[in-house]
Point group: C2
Chain length 485, copies 2
């Protein structure tokens, strides 16, 4: 996260200059970052990316190179460029911790500050949160599909550029993957690495048996052999068993085999039998080959004998839904800390924004299971019994009693200073797992999950309705005036 | 492309140590980087990413930090770590220039060198070429759909991490996009920038008219106004016309409007009429809102009055096909520059590799249209008349006469030294456009395109068949031996 000040859309800078020139330099605003739809047809989302947002904010300054480039564009005036030269983020940021389970319309990040600065950071915040949240969510699905089997992320070669590989690896770990093949991600984030040999290794030796023996000589205690270069059952498994027994005879423990093509259910079951007959019951079977949560689920349902899964393209790109679609919308504007709620109308009801400075409150039942969330105004408190209702299908009501609540947003920056301690990655992974345990299985179903309840508080609902009415009335009046001229 | 040595999969390093420890330190190999399937159901692919590959190779060295990390993993011995410490790439690389039209199974990059080094670079090469080629190809489709209309790429907020935004912007420009919103991509690669204001700008002023006037004051000569914050036809367009006329009265030229929601066909046609009636015939209409090549095509077919297109998520992630799926396969191995062809078998015929050191020859007819490609062995020459045939459906034959040929691979590195001058990005864009012009329209159709002919030379075909037979005979013999024991 170096050289990041220009990681933004040009219109952020043209708007900034516009605010500056029109006397809005000190105007303040609140923006919410949220998504509208859960990816991959799932029932929940795992938030991720906050650590990179923090790094970005802390490194946010325009270098002299940046300044020279902007000046050369000939669209910015010197007064504005001067303001950029000394730019630092001085606003407030609240966010849900990484690993938190979140749902559509809930602000994952809330930015309050001068509109100049809140606007500048929009693009990078979306870029980071959109991607890491997407991959943490996908990983959580893949890991769930794998049951107790471990999942290794090895998508770097298919990732959308180097950062996607590295940040994707991090996000996949948050979502529950246990290993990555990505050495740089291992170095940067301490993610455990895994990896043995490719088909090219096997091809480079006079024959498969010699290739296996060579690998066993170098890594006698981490010997996992790729058995599908020539033929899994006729050649790969028999040769692997031979080498495995040789290793064990020398006092090593043979790790197992990897199958990377063919029918994984059939091949793994046959290979299991062959390994067991040879007395290598402890040898593991690792499977890979264009896997995603649905294929893993189907293969397991057919009784495949697979202990670990290597997942690449589908995970690192979230192939079925390669963008989260998060947005960053103005919810209030003001001056000197006094804010007026703002709302954007749209023909499409799903695109109407929620006005005001908001928080997310999660309601838990006695057993600690999450029952519902309310998006509420910042100063609201809730007491039992509480009746909540769907903001669109308002006849859908539910009364909550005997609940505990938790607010999800946490202060991260105050006046530009960080007030939040970044957790260790391993702790984020554990927290994400705990978060998933608070959800009912119905919400976690891979296909057609039950929709978790996220309602608006009555106060927020009323605010939204009254602003909507106000705006549409105003538009009609203006239109009538125009037509009657 | 700094700190890149660890941008690799762990198994590359474990294999390297294995080669080193098994006396294969000086073994040489040839690898081909190619893809098997054209993304988005298209008929052609635009190669991109070579400049970043060159940067990567030239920056490829292990820092003392990298060395410390690898040592700490406790899987590498000191002899091997010493070899890494002074590691530089000393091999040969040939590649197709960026912007070249390519097809499945054609080597976009060919690496020849010690297997140690050829193996290390696999992951980064795939990562870079896979992504940039994917996006250049998608951009080419979107630009084709837009006809003469210009296309602006503005996907940074939805890109899979910062690099994806920046490299994606570069690749989109190669594919024919004219502008980007991404300021950092503009600075790094000199791509022309574009951008004006967001809905938040409009919402921050007392009303839409005042917001438009404020923008016009700051940017009187680049005034493009976003008209869908409240209501396009009832409010946005009438207010934009008012401000446009005010600008023109002061001697400026009003640029036009942007519509970002609603039915773009209907709204653009109505807006066009309103602008024309007001005497603003020259004002442009820019459209955006979740566009891809198919939506643009459909909207244009219905007579939309749109001059420019802003394309985000679908382009920057190649949403319908978010990975190219390129692979990197061993095709020969040897010693001291003498190579033996190698082949990998597979149950799936599409996964059987092409053995030997190969080149790509493109055959053009008199008018300069591309007729067919041959993947051939490096030392082959072709004379008229030439009969070529499909490597799977071998009865499909075609005789070529009166042709000109061109070889697509160009030397990029020799003995680790760069021998290739990197072209300017703008020239790559022009070259890519020229490349597309050599294709028949049937091959460029967005949906169900005609399949361009890519055959194997007779010599390569025979080599492949004989190696396949050799390997499968050997597997059967070993299996028979095993069973008869």
């Amino acid at each position: 996260m170096q050289d990041v000040a220009l990681l933004t859309d040009l219109y952020q800078l043209t708007m900034m200059q516009g605010y500056y020139q029109n006397g809005y330099e000190n105007k303040e605003a609140v923006f919410d970052l949220y998504f509208r739809k859960i990816p991959s047809g799932g029932g929940y989302v795992i938030a991720a990316g906050l650590e990179q947002v923090v790094e970005y904010i802390e490194n946010l300054r325009f270098s002299s190179e940046d300044m020279a480039y902007l000046r050369g564009l000939n669209i910015f005036d010197e007064g504005f460029l001067n303001l950029l030269k000394d730019f630092r983020f001085h606003g407030d940021i609240d966010a849900v911790p990484e690993g938190t389970v979140v749902f559509p319309y809930e602000p994952l990040v809330r930015v309050k500050g001068r509109i100049l600065e809140a606007q500048l950071i929009e693009t990078a915040l979306l870029n980071i949160i959109n991607f890491e949240t997407l991959i943490a969510t996908k990983a959580s699905r893949v890991v769930a599909a794998a049951g107790g089997g471990s999942v290794m992320e090895f998508g770097l070669r298919r990732a959308q550029g180097p950062d996607a590989g590295i940040l994707g690896s991090r996000a996949a770990f948050i979502g529950g993957c246990q290993f990555t093949s990505n050495v740089l991600a291992g170095k940067r984030y301490g993610i455990p690495l895994s990896g043995t040999q490719a088909h090219s290794w096997i091809q480079c030796f006079p024959d498969e048996l010699e290739a296996f023996r060579a690998y066993a000589r170098t890594f006698p205690d981490q010997c996992l052999l790729l058995v599908d270069t020539y033929n899994v059952l006729k050649s790969g498994v028999p040769n692997a068993i031979k080498v495995g027994l040789e290793l064990e005879a020398e006092g090593h423990r043979f790790l197992g085999i990897r199958i990377d093509s063919g029918d994984l259910t059939y091949l793994s079951r046959e290979a299991r039998k062959m390994l067991d007959q040879a007395g290598l019951e402890h040898a593991r079977i690792v499977a890979s080959n264009d896997l995603d949560e649905h294929t893993i689920s189907a293969i397991r349902a057919q009784g495949a004998a697979i202990d670990s899964w290597g997942v690449g393209t589908h995970l690192i790109t979230s192939k079925d839904t390669p963008a989260l679609g998060g947005v960053y919308k103005l919810s209030a504007e003001g001056q000197k800390g006094v804010f007026e709620p703002r709302l954007k109308v749209s023909e499409n009801i799903s695109k109407i924004t929620n006005p005001g400075i908001k928080k997310i409150v999660r309601f838990y039942d006695r057993r600690g299971k999450a029952m519902a969330d309310l998006i509420a105004l910042e100063d609201e408190h809730f007491e039992e019994p509480l009746t909540i209702f769907d903001p669109i299908e308002t006849w859908k009501r539910k009364t909550l009693t005997d609940f505990k609540t938790r607010e999800l947003l946490r202060p991260v920056f105050r006046g530009g200073r960080r007030v939040y301690e970044l957790p260790y990655l391993k702790d984020i992974q554990t927290y994400a797992q705990h978060e998933c345990e608070t959800l009912w299985d119905e919400v976690k179903r891979l296909v057609n999950p039950h929709r978790y309840i996220v309602d608006l508080s009555p106060k927020l609902f009323e605010l939204r309705q009254s602003l909507l009415l106000e705006i549409s009335t105003k538009i009609e009046e203006e239109q009538t005036k125009r037509l009657s001229k």
